[in-house]
Symmetry: C2
Subunit: 187 residues, 2 copies
């Protein structure tokens, strides 16, 4: 079941037989979170990665009494505080379930084991590379576009996300206040 979901999600990037994904899922536990559950707290080290089966999660950074949202991830994608997972250091990022969520959890120990296999090294290389590309695109958007352009493009690219996720999170993901987002939406 789950191995098929993973295969489907990754086939566009590289094809691996379903038995290989089965081995992957055998290393995972299924976990679930309630809406607003904190998955990883600020100041801790990330010890897992998650493949979201259903729901949505976000990664946040607190700044005095409010916060910014660095990423919002929907089902059929990997999710984690990748920075902390990669550096194996504590990070001040917080990961939160933004909806009732079920996910496959894989431990860092198992990730490290997998990285040594041909399959794992390709999987995580592709994961890291596409995360980089996505982050660079976010950097470009922040540097070159107005808040209004960023909102319109997000809306076009992922209208479902805008329906499902609270505006305060979307606003902070776009780098603006909820007031500004509201102002933009009025148009």
């Amino acid at each position: 079941m789950n191995e098929l979901k993973l295969k489907t999600a990754f086939d566009p990037y590289f094809e691996a037989p379903v038995e290989v994904w089965k081995k992957f899922t055998d290393l995972c536990q299924q976990v679930s979170f309630k809406k607003n559950d904190i998955i990883k707290q600020s100041g801790e080290t990330e010890k897992n990665a998650y493949f979201i089966l259903e729901g949505a999660c976000g990664i946040f950074l607190w700044k005095e009494n409010n916060y910014v949202c660095l990423d919002i991830v929907l089902e059929n994608n990997f999710f984690a505080d990748h920075m902390s997972l990669i550096t194996a250091k504590i990070s001040s990022l917080e990961t939160i379930a933004l909806e009732k969520t079920t996910a496959l959890r894989i431990s860092k120990a198992n990730i490290d084991k997998l990285k040594k296999s041909p399959f794992g090294s390709v999987l995580f290389l592709i994961g890291a590379e596409s995360s980089f590309v996505e982050k660079q695109q976010q950097q470009i958007d922040l540097l070159m576009k107005t808040a209004e352009q960023r909102y319109n493009e997000l809306f076009k690219k992922n209208p479902e996300l805008i329906q499902r996720i609270a505006q305060k999170h979307i606003a902070s993901y776009l780098g603006i206040t909820t007031q500004s987002l509201s102002r933009i939406r009025k148009k």
Copy 2:
């Protein structure tokens, strides 16, 4: 000679014997650029990565009649339009030598070959992961900090870069105009 430079640069991340780096440099050609040479033009596909031996390079995106700088890279680091290299698609990014530069050039074909070796798969995984971490930090800085904070932190972290690189590039890297940077510097 060059293999030692590479070993020294990468030992903090993972240690490989110098003979392995020798094999790496055997796949490279040494190239040099004059200041302001365009290494890869907008609209082309990146066909190489570079390890900068001496000098500095930047990666830029044009926006009507001006531009933003996505990254400035000094000697002893890898440099490329990674996005285009990864996706193997054209990108509108432009890479430019910001100083007289000498570098080791490795072709995408050789990179792909290397990725299949144990050494290469670790090297490029670590490269992609640390590029991601760096990009995420840039995203955080853009979302949470003022231009003045970003300037002061860059100055603290890399005072040499501020000496060597033209202010117009630094300004665009920080996401501001040269006029704003000038205003900040006056303090």
